[in-house]
């Protein structure tokens, strides 16, 4: 893999985002920052999955041009001209689920703050053993 290509840049950014998010979720004590960490890691995972389907030199899997077809008569698409659409479909799902999960986590944070008047995770040790 060429280290200066767009592909390598995207993979690198995605990995850094995942690590930053993971570190935030594990090390921080503010509940909001933990949620933010999960959200950042989520973006990193999505970027990584999309990048894994990217093949350099190919175009988006939207067939709006007859040049992308194998031959003019049929509707069979030339599979050597477009990138992998499957990871993109998976990420479309993952983004929506990520929004829902983040919203649910924030709802829990709001409820915890209303009960304990604190955002520090150390104040909520009741489920610890």
């Amino acid at each position: 893999m060429n280290l200066l290509s767009l592909h390598a840049l995207a993979v690198g950014t995605a990995i850094v985002l995942i690590l930053v998010g993971l570190a935030g979720a594990l090390v921080r004590r503010n509940l909001l920052k933990i949620v933010l960490g999960f959200s950042i890691a989520d973006s990193g995972v999505n970027l990584l999955i999309v990048t894994l389907g990217h093949i350099p030199g190919r175009t988006a899997p939207i067939i709006d041009d007859p040049k992308l077809l194998k031959d003019a008569g049929s509707l069979v698409v030339d599979a050597s001209k477009v990138v992998d659409p499957l990871p993109q479909a998976l990420v479309l799902t993952a983004i929506v689920i990520g929004v829902g999960v983040t919203a649910l986590m924030l709802a829990f944070v709001v409820r915890l703050y209303a009960q304990g008047k604190s955002l520090d995770i150390r104040d909520f040790g009741r489920l610890k053993w």
Binding site: M1, H7, V11, I15, I18, L19, L22, A23, L26, V27, T51, L52, G53, I55, A60, P61, I62, I63, D64, L69, K70, S74, L75, V76, V77, A79, V82, D84, P85, L86, Q88, A89, L92, T93, I95, V96, I97, V99, G100, V101, A103, L104, L106, A107, F108, V110, R111, Y113, A114, Q115
Partner: protein
Amino acid sequence: MIKQLVGLLAVLAVAALFVALLPLMAPTELGPVTRHYVEQGLVENRGANLVTSIVVNYRGFDTLGEVTVLFLSVSGAGFVLRRREGLVPEPQRRSSELVQTASRVLFAPIVLFGAYIFVHGHLTPGGGFQGGAVIASAVLLLLLADRDRLLPHGFLSVIESFSGFGYVVTGFVGLAATGSFLANRGVIDLGTWNRLFSAGVIPVIYVLIGLKVGSELATLLDTMMHADQAGEGHR
């Protein structure tokens, strides 16, 4: 301190894992399953956007599950942040004249743009989830302009339930017509490739998903917007 060191060590371990996996991250060919989706996508679905073909048709059942997960998380948030009956929201600081006027001007165009995105989901990058999110952003603007505004919950839940119901009904229509749940070929005419009226039931399902996601996210925004009052009411 020890815990944070352990956390950082775990992060470093994940980093090492990624470095080890790096050589696998540069594919040069499509896999066998996705090759079928790409090559036969237009023949089988006539949807120019192959991602939409996968999300709504080949993996339509998974998308039905995904819509359910979104519904569950939104209703979970609504349950956790529920308002006490009869609790009148406290009046809040009014937002500026600019936001109020802009929200009135921009609300209809943003909703229209969201509808455009999900109606053209089978032709352009876009679709039900994206269009629904755009519509929800219009609702957010409305809520930012007037924080005391309460959304019409009855109306939103009617849209939400009927679009979810319509998705399942579309699936059963496919089952009745061709013997396969959420089938596309043989249900309605597939039409001509790259036209608005093409791709069979894919645009129908994506419009339903767009309405469902839009109303769900709008309900979620409303729940979160009034969450501080819910917290006060329960103390």
